[in-house]
């Protein structure tokens, strides 16, 4: 697939850990969920403020949430890599094979990509600068609201498709 070797992303070390220590997979699941809770909780609050909920809060006051969203994302990526690279130890399937057949995994990656593009558009257009100075009771511009709504929908979609991945294998 994509001209990559079929064992691309496969890690025998992670497989060995998962096969030897039964707790590695469920602990990774627990921390994947903790990451998801941190990420979705913070993203929801930031996006809802842009959409006009919690309008009495100046947007800059929500800035301390950003590092926690990043921490949540890092937790999800690291534990997600455990699932992907050690997949063989759990379901005897290569990561590239799973990527080729699991439509839910494909949808999750598409949604993550779209959320990334949305974030880049938000950050590298004048929208972010206008949002950063959003005062209490001030409405966000319509373009920012569209991006905020898209972000919320995409992250809900990422959680939704992610939960369905085992049923697509």
């Amino acid at each position: 697939m994509f001209g990559l070797p079929e064992d691309f992303l496969q890690s025998h070390l992670i497989e060995h850990w998962i096969g030897t220590y039964r707790w590695v997979w469920p602990v990774s699941e627990v921390f994947h969920f903790i990451g998801l809770i941190l990420l979705v909780g913070t993203v929801a609050i930031l996006d809802l403020r842009i959409l006009g909920i919690g309008k009495r809060i100046p947007y800059s006051n929500l800035a301390p949430l950003m590092p926690w969203a990043v921490l949540g994302f890092i937790l999800c990526v690291v534990t997600g890599l455990v699932f992907v690279t050690g997949l063989w130890a759990n379901v005897q399937m290569l990561p590239m094979e799973a990527l080729a057949i699991d439509r839910f995994l494909q949808l999750k990656f598409i949604f993550i990509g779209l959320a990334g593009i949305n974030l880049l558009l938000f950050t590298y257009t004048p929208v972010a600068r206008r949002i950063d100075v959003l005062a209490a009771n001030e409405e966000a511009p319509a373009s920012a609201k569209v991006m905020g709504a898209a972000s919320l929908v995409l992250w809900v979609g990422i959680v939704y498709w992610g939960r369905l991945i085992p049923w697509g294998l």
Partner: protein, 190 residues
């Protein structure tokens, strides 16, 4: 036991189980509800603990309806999921740990809400040691509920090992945040 088996074999339960689309949609909705309920209430707890001190407490209650929506989704989907395999779930002590933790979380959240918003106040709310204790307790019971929910499909030794490993990794994580949190902007400068 006969009643549980009758519920498991009921027409509604069989219909949901046989329709893979509906079953997985209920399961996924349960996770979305959890993310909103636990995510937003955890950020409230962070705020009470002073981690995200710049967020004014009073307007934060405008985010509560989303938390309630998450709770409503989880009660509905949780009851449906429990009704699909009650004979399996209700003989597993883990489900009672999860339910007790959720119940404790709801009670603590209610008391925290009353303590923060029960009396008229300005945006500068006086945070007492008691509200901070409630915030810590809320994070702990949410963690217990999350771990219990994730390990239900595993054997008892794996459940116990997972719980122990989670506590160890989490303690290490909290230690790292205490050491490097200010540099990483996770904690405020004080």
């Amino acid at each position: 036991m006969d009643l549980l088996q009758a519920i498991e074999a009921s027409a509604l339960a069989m219909w949901i189980k046989e329709s893979s689309t509906i079953y997985v949609a209920i399961l996924a909705s349960h996770t979305i509800g959890l993310a909103f309920l636990v995510g937003i209430s955890s950020i409230l707890a962070f705020r009470v603990l002073g981690v995200t001190e710049s967020i004014p407490i009073d307007p934060f209650q405008e985010f509560f309806p989303l938390m309630y929506a998450g709770a409503a989704i989880n009660v509905f989907t949780g009851v449906v999921l429990l009704g699909l395999y009650p004979a399996d779930y209700l003989v597993d002590p883990t489900i009672y740990v999860k339910l007790a933790a959720i119940l404790a979380a709801i009670v603590i959240l209610r008391r925290l809400k009353d303590a923060l918003y029960g009396v008229p106040h300005t945006t500068q709310v006086e945070l007492s040691g008691k509200t901070r204790q409630m915030a810590v307790a809320l994070l702990i019971v949410w963690l217990i509920a999350t771990v219990a929910g994730r390990v239900m499909a595993y054997s008892t030794p794996t459940k116990l090992q997972t719980a122990a490993a989670t506590v160890i990794f989490l303690a290490a994580g909290i230690g790292l945040i205490a050491m490097f949190g200010r540099r990483l902007r996770l904690l405020r400068d004080s």
